[in-house]
Amino acid sequence: MKRIRNKFKKEENVRFISHLDVMRLFERAFRRADIKIAFSKGFNPHPKISFGNALMVGATTDGDYFDVEVCEDILPKDFKNKINNVLPKGIIILESFEVANEDILSSRIVAADYLIKFSTFENIHDIYDTYKKFIEQPSIEIEKDTKKGKKVIDIKAYIIETKLLFYDGKMGEIYVKLKLGEGTPTPLHLLKAFNDFLDGLINLENYKLKREKIILDTDMR
């Protein structure tokens, strides 16, 4: 048994497929690639694959992760090539490497970098200053849907770093590094809060979200 960790990319054309869809898609790709993977026992056997934090529907990523337990002796680079040959357009494995069996993906994940492209209804002249002021508030409360209903949380507690990268009078782009963990808000919550701060000048029906990468604690060492 080998545990292979994979970093993958999800492009524009598949940005609307859900986390669950992506999981199923890989399961089927292993079968097409004829790679024997481990299955759970029981009435409805499931392949032993674990994914990092779910990506929002509509977002792309250049660096999400999943682990899979493989039942054959295969080199990670061969594994990567074999899977990439059978994946639908827009999903690509970027890197595969072997990790110890007790190395659990979810406990490695610490943060993620995001880019949000947005557009505004009118030119906001002092938007860089406004963003600074927005971020420098003592707390930024947002409402989050949870299984137990709506919950108000402070998104500032999750922001490691953020910056308004550019704005041309119509379109802008925000970079944010968010702590990932139980109950982490999404960058969209941030955008919505910024929109409230701007009294609704951002067009929330027209934005693009990209996860640049998930950051593992192994990356930080």
Binding site: N13, V14, F16, I17, S18, L20, D21, R24, L25, E27, R28, A29, F30, R31, R32, D34, K36, F39, F43, N44, P45, P47, V57, G58, V86, P88, K89, G90, E205, N206, Y207
Partner: protein, 615 residues
């Protein structure tokens, strides 16, 4: 095109299930449009997840795309949220593959699986900027339609240009061949229709006229041109073993209704249930060999990576080599985690044992369809199942560990009394007692009982029968609601309004067709989805068209009445159907035609076709 793609993309953030509209799935076909001569839009008049579960689409999509100069793309009915945004933003209905507007195709082909999707068909044409009426279309795509509901072409006769009767994979390329030549010489629309009307299985509704008697029944279906055949014979696949079958099937990103490989084991059914249209129109029974099926299964598993393979047929357990096939499939794919599914199960111990075998890989549900609650009524409908069968098979199933069971019945069957309906609940309670006997308690038992409402269908022995009146249906449902209480039972029933409309349309003529258009104009669509059915709008439409819906749904027909669908010859003849109707009235059953021939007419229909051919 790029521009349209971007416009569509910008809407997707705002709709439910955006994956319905993106295309690009594994095994979907990409072609260079410069090398394509004929563009075919295969349109399914329902949402993506329903349409993508349909076998006929998989077959014809692959078959057409095998031809280098033909590009077949897929189109589905957008869900209501998407439709609203499309209309608001002036986005025409588009194909998934290249996001091409519907009116830019050479053909738009609809499969007619369900009468209550006809308003969706009209809505899709309209969303695609295509005039609803055939006579108003001077250019743009030809509208072609097939599928089981096409066997009564009358209701959509003023909308559809070309009907294909019978098995499409046998006919479609012949039509394409004529089209190539016609397109080359830029002929007139009417000329093309005339040319293909010579192909067996092709019915051009514009070449016929319905003439009525003073009582509203049909006097004649009259060919309007001299050299037009008064009746059209359906097409039958001559060699089912070697006929094209897709070795690749599209693997959707999203979860669809039937999210698995479909492997068709045989076509047709030998049981002869008298209510069942599929059992009549898909005759004769033709099987594929185990070797062929294993070869196809292997290719399909490799090309899709699916975790489940479904052996699809009308009554799969009737396949002559079923045990052998299932055993071999399980042996071969067990280790890869690929399960086998059998969608419809006979009620006997044999089938339950077979399912046991299947369960070793993946747990499947158990669904049994006794259809009626008493032996008398089961004899009337020729459902060759006894109460004993049901008791034995459920006992076997409970012993084998099943806790969940679904039972399907029909109410409103010809000759059904309230006692027969009581029989349904009695049966359910007997099944519960069996569970108690086997397991000692009822803790984990879940029984789902579902009743549909009988809709008399064309080309069945019950085509002469009227549908039971709505009030009696409601009373019967109420009786069952009362009798099927308890924490182990879940009872669900069909909406009587939908079944009534289905009865009107399925036996409708061209006048009903006009009412369908009216209903659509009044906003009807997704009529098969209970929450969207606008029943009052339908009633208004009937009234405005001067139609009495009961005349179509509830009226018992005379034996010599000419039906709108008599213009089609499905092989099973009227004499046989009538004989079966009369036997049902005498409570006489008819044997399965695997035992010996029951003389339905299919053998005389086409000398080349051998009935129940095994390899």
């Amino acid at each position: 095109m790029e521009q349209l793609k971007e416009k569509i993309d910008s809407l997707l953030m705002r709709v439910s299930k955006p994956t319905r509209y993106i295309g690009g799935e594994l095994n979907s076909v990409e072609k260079n449009l410069e090398n394509v001569y004929i563009r075919f839009a295969f349109a399914f008049p329902d949402v993506y997840e329903v349409g993508m579960s349909h076998l006929g689409m998989k077959i014809l999509y692959s078959l057409l795309n095998e031809e280098d100069d033909i590009y077949c793309e897929r189109v589905f009915a957008p869900w209501i949220d998407m439709e609203n945004l499309m209309r608001e933003n002036k986005i025409p209905l588009f194909s998934l593959e290249t996001k091409t507007p519907l009116d830019k195709f050479d053909f738009v082909g609809f499969t007619l699986q369900y009468e209550m999707s006809y308003t969706n068909l009209l809505n899709m044409l309209n969303l695609g900027n295509i005039p609803i009426l055939s006579k108003d279309r001077k250019e743009g795509p030809f509208i072609i339609a097939g599928g089981p509901c096409a066997y009564n072409p009358a209701p959509l006769s003023e909308v559809v240009d070309i009907f294909v009767m019978g098995e499409g994979e046998e006919v479609i390329l012949e039509i394409m061949e004529v089209y190539r030549k016609w397109k080359n010489i830029s002929g007139k629309r009417d000329e093309f229709l005339k040319l293909i009307s010579k192909i067996e299985g092709v019915f051009i509704p514009a070449f016929y006229e319905e003439i009525y008697n003073s009582d509203g029944t049909i006097a004649e279906i009259k060919p309007l041109k001299e050299d037009i055949s008064p009746r059209v014979k359906k097409r039958i696949i001559k060699d089912f073993e070697t006929i094209f079958y897709p070795e690749k099937q599209i693997v959707p990103f999203m979860d669809i209704v039937h999210d698995r490989i479909m492997l068709e084991v045989f076509r047709g059914c030998t049981r002869g249930c008298r209510f069942c249209q599929a059992g009549m129109i898909y005759r004769p029974v033709r099987e594929k060999s185990v070797e062929k099926l294993l070869e196809l299964a292997d290719k399909l598993i490799k090309s899709t990576g699916y975790e489940e393979l479904s052996l699809t047929s009308l009554s799969t357990c009737d396949y002559s080599q079923i045990e052998d096939l299932v055993k071999k499939l399980i042996e071969k794919y067990h280790d890869e985690g690929v399960g086998v599914a059998i969608p419809s199960t006979r009620i006997d111990a044999f089938s339950v044992n077979l399912l046991n075998e299947i369960q070793k890989v993946r747990k499947t549900g158990l669904t049994l369809a006794p259809e009626a609650g008493s032996q008398r009524l089961r004899d009337i409908i020729n459902k060759g199942v006894t109460e004993e069968d049901l008791m034995v098979s459920t006992e076997e199933a409970f012993k084998a560990g099943w806790n969940t069971i679904k039972l399907y019945f029909m109410i409103g069957l010809p000759g059904e009394t309230f006692e027969d309906v009581e029989g349904i609940s009695d049966l359910v309670h007997k099944v519960i007692s069996i569970y108690k006997k086997v397991r000692g308690n009822l803790k984990d038992l879940k029984i789902t009982v579902s009743t549909s409402i009988f809709v008399p269908k064309p080309f069945t022995p019950f085509q002469w029968v009227g549908q039971e009146d709505v009030n009696t249906i409601i009373e019967k449902q109420d009786l069952l609601k009362k009798n099927l209480r308890g924490k182990n039972i879940r009872y669900s029933w069909h909406d009587h309004r939908t079944s009534f409309l289905e009865a009107v349309v399925s036996k409708g003529d061209r006048k009903v067709g006009r009412a369908i258009i009216k209903a659509w104009e009044k906003g009807c669509k997704f009529d098969g989805w209970d929450e969207y059915l606008k029943y009052d709008k339908w009633l208004e439409a009937f009234e405005e068209e001067g139609i009495d819906p009961h005349f179509y749904a509830n009226r018992e027909r005379n034996y010599d009445e000419i039906f709108p669908w008599d213009v089609v010859d499905v092989g099973v003849n009227k004499k046989y159907l009538l004989r079966e109707l009369n036997k049902s009235k005498e409570l006489k059953t008819t044997n399965d035609c695997r035992v010996f021939c029951t003389g339905c007419g299919i053998k005389e229909f086409d000398e080349e076709v051998k009935c129940f051919e095994t390899h």
